[in-house]
C-alpha cells in the first residue's frame, strides 16, 4: 500500500471511530451545557447500551434487521437509566458546590462498572458481541470501507441530524438552549427547568447507547470496563471542540478519531492515547474554551 492509500484508509477509519466519539461527546457537552456537570458516568452508559443490544441479539440472532432493531431497546433502557441517575444522584445536589456532583458522578461510574461485574448475567469476563460477516467495499482502489463502518456513518449522521432538528427547531430544544443560558429566566417563562434537564439526559443517554452498539460492532468484545476509554476520549473530544457546544463535540470527536488512527497507522499504536491526551493539553493551553467554544460560553 502506498502512502496516499494508507493515509486515506486511516482517515476513513478515523472518521468512523470519530463518529462514535462524537455521539458520546454530545452527551457530555449537552449535560455540561445545562447543569455544568462533567458526567463521568456517561461512558458507562455506552457499556450498558452495548450489553442491552448483546442480550437482544442473543435472543433474536444477528441479522442486519435485528441489529438495527436492537438500537430501540438499548436506547430506551439507557435513557431510563440516565434520567434515573439524574433524579437520584445529581438533582439533590444541584444547589450544592459543583465538586459534590462531580465526585458523585465518579461514584456513579464505579457503581455501574462494578455493578455490571457482579451481576451474574454480565460478570467480569469479556464476551463476544455478535457481528455480521465482514464485507468490504472498495472505493476507486483507494480505500476499502466495511459494512460496519457504513453502519457507523449512517447511524451517526442520522442521529446527529435528528438531534440538530430537536435542538434547533422544537419547543423543548429551544427551551434546552434557554435553560442552559439562564435557568432563572427560563423558569420565569414558565419552562419546567427540571423537565428540560431530564430531557437533556434522555438525549445524551440515548446517543450513548447507540454509540455503545456501534463501538461493540467495530470492536466486538464487551465487558464492564469497556466504556472507560471511549468515555475519556469523548470527554476530550467535547473539551477539544469547546464544552457546551454541540457542533464542537462533533468536530472534536472527528478530529480525535482521525488523530488516533493516523497515529496508529504511521507512528505507533502505543502512542495513540498519548496523542489524544496531548491534544487535550495543547488545546487547554492555546485555546482554553475549545475550538468552537465561546470564551464565556454559549451553551448547548
Amino acid at each position: 500500500m502506498d502512502f496516499l492509500q494508507q493515509f486515506c484508509q486511516q482517515t476513513l477509519n478515523g472518521l468512523s471511530l470519530g463518529s462514535i466519539y462524537a455521539l458520546l461527546a454530545l452527551g457530555y457537552t449537552m449535560v455540561y451545557g445545562i447543569i455544568k456537570l462533567i458526567n463521568f458516568a456517561h461512558g458507562d452508559i455506552l457499556m450498558v447500551g452495548a450489553f442491552v443490544s448483546y442480550f437482544v441479539l442473543k435472543q433474536w440472532g444477528i441479522t442486519p434487521v435485528t441489529l438495527m432493531l436492537s438500537f430501540l431497546p438499548a436506547m430506551l433502557f439507557c435513557l431510563t437509566l440516565g434520567v434515573t441517575m439524574e433524579k437520584l444522584c445529581y438533582k439533590p445536589l444541584r444547589n450544592q458546590p459543583r465538586i459534590n456532583s462531580l465526585i458523585t458522578a465518579i461514584g456513579v461510574s464505579f457503581l455501574l462498572e462494578n455493578g455490571a461485574r457482579v451481576l451474574p448475567m454480565i460478570g467480569p469476563n469479556p464476551r463476544v458481541f455478535p457481528t455480521l460477516p465482514v464485507v468490504n467495499y472498495n472505493w476507486f482502489g483507494l480505500v476499502s470501507i466495511s459494512q460496519v463502518q457504513i453502519l457507523v456513518f449512517v447511524v451517526a449522521i442520522f442521529l446527529m441530524l435528528v438531534l440538530n432538528y430537536i435542538v434547533s427547531f422544537t419547543k423543548i430544544g429551544k427551551a434546552m438552549r434557554a435553560v442552559s443560558f439562564d435557568k432563572g429566566a427560563s423558569a420565569l417563562m414558565g419552562i419546567n427547568v427540571d423537565r428540560v434537564i431530564s430531557f437533556t439526559f434522555v438525549l445524551g443517554s440515548s446517543l450513548a447507547a447507540a454509540a455503545g452498539i456501534l463501538f461493540a460492532s467495530a470492536y466486538p468484545q464487551i465487558e464492564p470496563y469497556m466504556g472507560i476509554m471511549p468515555g475519556m476520549k469523548a470527554f476530550i473530544a467535547a473539551v477539544l471542540g469547546g464544552i457546551g457546544s454541540i457542533p464542537g463535540a462533533v468536530l472534536g470527536g472527528l478530529i480525535l478519531g482521525v488523530a488516533e488512527t493516523l497515529t496508529k497507522g504511521f507512528l505507533s499504536s502505543q502512542l495513540s492515547d498519548a496523542i489524544a491526551f496531548g491534544l487535550l493539553i495543547l488545546i487547554l493551553v492555546v485555546k482554553p474554551s475549545g475550538l468552537l467554544g465561546k470564551p464565556m460560553g454559549e451553551k448547548v
Binding site: 419547543k171 420565569l188 417563562m189 414558565g190
Partner: protein, 234 residues
C-alpha cells in the same frame, strides 16, 4: 389581585425581608421603591417562586402561591420582567418571544399576540432572526417586556426597567408600561428612579432594609417631605 402578607425571606443567615405586606388591586400600577439593597428584587423573586418564602404568604387571584413553583405561577397569569433584562442572548429574537409563550397552547391567540407585540415594538419585528445578544440595551429591554407579554399576563412584575438606559429610552419604556396597563394588565413596578415611578403609579410602597416603611397614594408620596428627602434628592 395580589396580596402579600408578612413575608419573611432569608439568604442563609441574612434576613432580607421582614414581614413585608402589600397589595395590588386589579388595573393598578403599584410601585415599590427603595434604595440599593432594600429588598425590592428579593420581594419580586419571592412572589415568582424563585426563592423560598420562610414565613408569610402570597396570594394571587385567590390562589396561594407561597409554595408554588415558578413555572406554575406563570401559568396563572403572573409574569415577571427580571432585573437586568435576562433575555436569552444565545437565542434569536423570535425564539425569545416563543419562550415567552411557552406555557400557552392556543396557536391562534399566540399569533394575535405576535401581531400585538410587533405593533408595539416595531424594532423587534425588524430583528426577528437576529441573535438577541446583539441587540442594543434599549432593544433588549423591549424584548424582555415583549417576551413577558407573550404569556398574556394578568399581572406583570417589572424590576427596574429603566436600568442602564438613556433618558429618552427610559421615557419610551415608561410610555409602554402605561400602555400595557391601559390595555388591561395590572403592574407592579420596582424602581430606583422613584420620581419617574411615582409619576405613573397609582399607589406606592417604600422599602427600607427589608421593611415597608411608608405606603400610600403615589401623588401624595411624591410630595411628602420624607420621600423627597430620602429618594428624590431633596
Amino acid at each position: 389581585m395580589l396580596k402579600v402578607e408578612n413575608l419573611d425571606v432569608y439568604y442563609g443567615n441574612i434576613h432580607a425581608l421582614h414581614e413585608v405586606s402589600f397589595e395590588v388591586k386589579e388595573g393598578e400600577i403599584v410601585t415599590l421603591i427603595g434604595a440599593n439593597g432594600a429588598g425590592k428584587t428579593t420581594t419580586l423573586h419571592a412572589i415568582s417562586g424563585l426563592i423560598p418564602i420562610a414565613a408569610g404568604s402570597v396570594r394571587f387571584l385567590e390562589q396561594d402561591l407561597t409554595a408554588a413553583l415558578p413555572h406554575q405561577i406563570v401559568q396563572l397569569g403572573l409574569a415577571h420582567v427580571p432585573e437586568g433584562r435576562r433575555i436569552f442572548a444565545n437565542l434569536t429574537v423570535k425564539e425569545n418571544l416563543e419562550m415567552g409563550a411557552f406555557t400557552r397552547k392556543d396557536p391562534k391567540g399566540i399569533k394575535d399576540d405576535y401581531q400585538m407585540v410587533f405593533t408595539r415594538f416595531p424594532r423587534l419585528k425588524e430583528r426577528l432572526k437576529q441573535v438577541a445578544g446583539t441587540l442594543s440595551g434599549g432593544e433588549q429591554q423591549m424584548l424582555a417586556i415583549a417576551r413577558t407579554l407573550m404569556s398574556r399576563p394578568k399581572l406583570v412584575l417589572m424590576d427596574e426597567p429603566s436600568m442602564g438606559l438613556a433618558p429618552l429610552l427610559v421615557k419610551e419604556i415608561f410610555e409602554i408600561i402605561k400602555e400595557i396597563n391601559a390595555t388591561g394588565a395590572t403592574i407592579l413596578l420596582v424602581e430606583q428612579n422613584a420620581q419617574l415611578a411615582l409619576s405613573i403609579a397609582n399607589r406606592a410602597y417604600v422599602l427600607e432594609t427589608g421593611r415597608v416603611v411608608l405606603q400610600g397614594d403615589a401623588k401624595e408620596l411624591a410630595n411628602s417631605e420624607e420621600v423627597r428627602k430620602a429618594y428624590l434628592g431633596g
